[in-house]
């Protein structure tokens, strides 16, 4: 399996310009013929944030310090995982015509989708950084770990994407199930509210959710402005690595027979 992995990676290297062109065309086509173009990628989550912030701080009245920033940081990291893996689920099936007709390393398709998604998410993270000043959040040296957590979320999302994209080739219900699951998880993960509002028994249950750790970790540089504990760091690293390995393993095992199942 390790051999297969190394072989796929070296093939990706020789097809690196394809990867580049796929990302470029993906970005170009997403915003082609729209007036505001790339701006939509920012306006859309910002409006969503605005609505949620209004509902939860003014109507439901969640009482906490700088709630909008708390919500914003949670939303950005959540979208990184959810949007990316939801869209990348289609990356193999949508490219079936290509896979049937040309020899390419198949990893290039999910990888290109995840990377082009992350270009959007990085931009949104930059907006979050600017909002840190606007909303008068705490600015500290901990911001330097932001690239680390974004990288870990990338590895985690890539693992999920590979897994979902592979399963989708065989089971056509996959995107529907994932869509519903993500909707439920959005409320079961402390994005809109802090974990502290829950009872301690509920808290234990909520901590079984792997998404919680990524959302929480992402808030350290952008909201809490303090260093995360070593324990949390290890948990996040372990979940990313395990998910990535699992996704990659299943993808590499099945990639040869994709062509027989389209």
């Amino acid at each position: 399996m390790l051999n297969k992995f190394i072989k796929e990676i070296s093939e990706i290297h020789s097809f690196r310009h394809l990867l580049l062109n796929l990302i470029k065309s993906d970005i170009k086509l997403r915003y082609k013929n729209s007036f505001l173009g790339f701006l939509w990628q920012l306006l859309n989550p910002l409006f969503y944030l605005g609505i949620l912030a209004l509902v939860f701080s003014q109507i439901i009245r969640i009482q906490m310090e700088n709630y909008v920033l708390f919500l914003f940081a949670g939303l950005v990291s959540w979208r990184m995982i959810q949007q990316t893996s939801l869209i990348a689920t289609h990356s193999i099936v949508n490219n079936q015509e290509l896979i049937k007709k040309v020899h390419t390393p198949k990893l290039v398709f999910p990888l290109a989708t995840v990377l082009s998604q992350f270009i959007d998410h990085l931009t949104l993270s930059l907006v979050l950084f600017i909002f840190l000043f606007i909303l008068k959040g705490k600015i500290s040296a901990v911001l330097f770990i932001a690239p680390l957590i974004i990288f870990l979320i990338f590895i985690f999302s890539l693992g999920l994407s590979l897994f979902f994209a592979t399963v989708y080739v065989y089971i056509k219900d996959t995107p529907h199930v994932i869509g519903i699951a993500f909707q439920a998880l959005f409320f079961l993960t402390p994005i809109l509210y802090p974990l502290s509002v829950l009872t301690s028994s509920m808290e234990k249950f909520f901590k079984l959710n792997p998404f919680y750790y990524f959302i929480e970790y992402f808030r350290y540089p952008f909201y809490y402005a303090k260093m995360p504990s070593a324990e949390l760091t290890i948990i996040v690293c372990a979940i990313s690595l395990a998910t990535f390995s699992l996704g990659m393993y299943i993808f590499l095992r099945k990639k040869e027979s994709f062509i027989f199942h389209f």
Partner: protein, 428 residues
């Protein structure tokens, strides 16, 4: 380590593609529903069946060789090309590839209709594993070849289907691959572009690229290929010299596997029983009243050795053995040479040149050409014996035999070498 070693051995052997017991297996899903026909929403039962599209395929294409792959629809030709291009995974066996492959299998596979022609050149070029720099270097060459200079900045969705394939062909054709896999892509674009693409393929051959060509156009195969593989039912039925392979394939189509007269006679007797065979075999017929019967026809070379292949300029002899049941006066024997498309090249007979006053019970007639002027290609041969008025056929075997002529300059066209001379003078 072993793979590196293998690659070194491969280089020594100087081959481009080699397979060993290659096999491709599909799982076919049969969907059943008891008693109901038509379009079904709910499937009650799905049965899976193994299907070997290819099995035990052993082939080797040396560097610079042009290998033709022929066979009926569904014989596995396209599957073979796809497995050689590493699109389909092997179910069993081994495959070695030495060099960069350019598949001209499904043109425009990597195209994105929303992107412009120029952007698609880069996208589909990198899809073949090339770098943007290499494509950039050939960019204008590709556009010039396609003749789409005016439309290169227009999204592909606005292209006509002809423009689409022209662009696709131009990309692959201008990227100097080591191995080209061609699947029926000669009929691309209009007449001038077809000519251009055919010349391009000839140029690949000159430059020493290895070509594997799938085509139903046997003329193209005969003109281009050094070697031919005949596939039937996923197996290699023939692997060898082009003209023999084409013969083999044509007989396969007719349902016969050999061309000797004994076999054709067997088919003749079977013909009365089944009307189907007549239709299948309507190009080659036998008729006549039967007082004189042609028993055997063989072709001989200068040394009177039996052969089916001749070289332009060599001696060609057709030997006709006959028997006669009645004493017939002044019969006329004749032979005829046809091209595969039925053009009569020559039809000499004995009426004025050789008189046979009374026919013996059995005899042999030779038709001898000393300096054969037929050019390379395949020829069909007829033999007949008529009465002296040429009205009554005793026995007529129409295009039942064939032979192949090779040699000569392949850039000369046509069927006959007129043995003309070129004279060039300077005008002062």
């Amino acid at each position: 380590m072993i793979t590196i070693l293998k690659q070194v051995i491969d280089m020594d052997n100087n081959f481009s593609i080699k397979t060993e017991n290659l096999g491709i297996r599909y799982l076919l899903r049969h969907e059943y529903q008891k008693g109901k026909k038509g379009l079904k929403i709910f499937q009650s039962r799905i049965k899976k069946e193994e299907f070997w599209a290819l099995r035990n395929v052993n082939l080797e294409a040396k560097r610079g060789e042009v290998l033709g792959i022929i066979g009926v629809n569904g014989s596995g030709k396209s599957t073979l090309l796809k497995s050689l291009a590493k699109i389909l995974p092997l179910s069993e066996g081994k495959l070695w590839v030495n060099g960069k492959i350019a598949p001209l299998i499904e043109l425009g596979a990597g195209f994105n209709p929303e992107l412009t022609g120029g952007e698609n050149i880069f996208l589909s070029g990198t899809l073949l594993g090339l770098t943007n720099e290499v494509i950039g270097k050939n960019y204008y060459k590709i556009i010039d070849f396609s003749g789409l200079n005016k439309f290169i900045d227009i999204p592909l969705k606005n292209y006509s289907s002809g423009m689409f394939v022209r662009l696709a062909f131009s990309i692959v054709a201008n990227l100097e691959p080591d191995i080209v896999l061609i699947d029926e892509v000669f009929a691309v674009g209009d007449e001038p572009f077809q000519q251009k693409s055919f010349e391009k393929i000839l140029r690949f051959k000159e430059k020493g690229s290895t070509l594997l060509i799938v085509s139903h156009d046997l003329n193209t195969i005969a003109r281009l290929c050094n070697k031919v593989i005949v596939l039937d039912d996923g197996k290699i039925e023939f692997n060898g010299e082009t003209s023999l392979g084409i013969d083999y394939y044509k007989n396969l189509l007719k349902g016969i596997k050999s061309t000797s007269l004994e076999d054709t006679e067997k088919i003749d007797s079977g013909r009365q029983a089944s009307a189907e065979t007549i239709i299948k075999d309507k190009d080659s017929l036998r008729w006549g009243s039967g007082e004189i019967k042609i028993r055997k026809i063989i072709f001989l070379n200068e040394n009177l050795k039996e052969t089916n292949t001749f070289k332009t300029g060599e001696t060609f002899i057709a030997r006709i053995d006959y028997t006669s049941s009645e004493e017939i006066k002044n019969p006329v024997f004749g032979v005829a040479f046809y091209t595969p498309y039925g053009l009569l090249v020559s039809g000499p007979n004995t009426k004025s040149s050789l008189s046979i006053e009374k026919i013996p019970k059995s005899g042999t007639l030779l038709y001898k050409v000393e300096n054969l002027s037929l050019r390379r290609g395949e020829y069909f041969f007829s033999a007949a014996v008529y009465d002296f008025t040429l009205r009554k056929p005793y026995d007529h075997l129409e295009r039942k035999f064939k032979f192949t002529v090779y040699g000569g300059d392949p850039s000369d066209f046509g069927h006959i070498d007129l043995r003309g001379q070129w004279i060039h003078k300077k005008n002062d």
